[in-house]
Symmetry: C2
DNA sequence: CGTTGTGAACGTCTTCACAGCA
DNA sequence: TGCTGTGAAGACGTTCACAACG
């Protein structure tokens, strides 16, 4: 068990809302696609459709960044790409280390989506001595012993943990001690980090469990009068919900 | 561009809040760990710490499931494991197909976290004829041509898409047409699905971009009076935020 | 005229604080 | 007494609807 809590008064100052930040990469991706097709301007309606959100939300999001649109016309694609990139900090280069080069770590190392944004895989690190020196995605794997030196030498501030759950906290502690202040955690563990360090987690099995929950709901209601939906096409995340009266009978074990 | 929108009035009926559903897997994992250590009961405070949330939130979450605790004592670990599993639909077996057996797909096939919950990898599917028959994680890869038959024969309702972005929508359409109603999408694309189909997406580069945003903020404020924090340990997601006055000067391209 | 930018209304999620119960 | 369960308050996020403006 860890030490004291700092209570964190959630001083969300005059910054961009977290929900908006989480959508900026989506907009950026849609805009990049438009840019590649040499589309010069785009309306909030069109861009929203491409990003899978509704247009009011998109306009509100953009309003936090500034007034980058032209009334009656829309947004200049190139300009917006630049502004969002800058806001996200992607105009600079972020060296990243990946720790744990198993199946997942290797997949991450090979993933093209990193390099295309400002991320550069500076090093791959694994605890298995047999892996050392072997190239994965063209980058030689280095041993965990050298973790601190690798972080320092490369000025790494973002680390990706793709180790088994048991090793994750220890790796995390070492990353943080060496100067990493942002961590993307793929291991199914809750990481304890000092104040000022950001952790985001991606848990594959959690996503499936959430789907299972909704799937179960659907199955339980298939007989209900509901089938009258005209099979229209919506975008993403339907979170469909027919009427359901009660909790399914609470009976003690 | 897709067809009409159905507007979806967000009829979140008398169900469990989505935010709560998203945390149930976390509680379940923490509880499973306690169960393995044969801990009989746990307080909201302890369990909350183990799951990385605060205790008020946890109690509120559990209150949506029913009154499963004992005042003055806490929660019975085994009983809660059962109740949450049932609520999530994990007491039944969910056959899952993974489409796109590249680095990521292989990592997913090998991921132990699926089998341990109620998920069973029923089939691996890839478009590359050279992959056909080759076993990955002990399961022979099958060709995309047989997708519909595989779905039907195995009664699959949950599909995982780990293909390149370009193939994702097409694969999605075929999955849905064959009867899949829940999709976990790893491809960096917005999927269009009919009403009643759930899509959840995991985008590795988006998570990194969100980290970069916060990282940039930290760097911009390092000189501010702030360093006086007593290095206390908090849990997860600090979302640290020092004071920041202005948007960084809006200058046209 | 068409589209942005935004106040105001609304809904959802989190946190507080304490009554109620074992 | 100690911990759960929950109303009430507050923060946050989304949507509406329209004024502002190129």
């Amino acid at each position: 068990m860890a030490t004291g809590r700092t209570h964190r008064p959630a001083t969300r100052s005059r910054g961009i809302p977290e929900a908006t930040v989480a959508r900026l990469p989506l907009y950026l991706r849609a805009l990049t696609a438009l840019s590649e097709r040499s589309v010069p301007t785009v309306s909030s309606e069109e861009l929203a459709a491409a990003a899978g959100v509704n247009s009011a939300k998109l306009r509100k999001d953009f309003s936090y960044l500034g007034s980058y649109g032209t009334r009656g016309v829309g947004y200049d694609v190139e300009y917006l790409v630049y502004q969002i990139s800058r806001e996200l900090g992607l105009t600079q280069d972020w060296p990243v280390v990946i720790v744990g080069i198993g199946n997942l770590g290797a997949a991450l190392a090979n993933y093209g989506g990193f390099a295309s944004r400002g991320f550069r895989v500076a090093a791959l690190i694994d605890a298995d001595p047999a892996m050392a020196g072997k190239p994965v995605a063209g980058i030689p794997v280095q041993h965990t012993d050298d973790l601190e030196k690798i972080i320092t030498d490369n000025g790494v501030s973002i680390g990706v943990i793709a180790t088994p759950a048991g090793a994750a906290q220890q790796v995390c502690d070492r990353l943080v001690a060496a100067g990493v202040t942002s961590i993307l955690n793929f291991a199914p563990t809750v990481l304890s980090v000092p104040d000022g360090v950001d952790v985001r987690k991606v848990d594959l099995s959690i996503e499936l469990q959430i789907l299972a929950f909704h799937e179960q709901r659907k199955a339980g209601e298939e007989a209900s009068g509901e089938a009258a939906v005209p099979a229209a096409v919506t975008r993403e995340e339907s979170t469909d919900q027919g009427p359901d009266g009660e909790h399914p009978a609470v009976m003690p074990a």
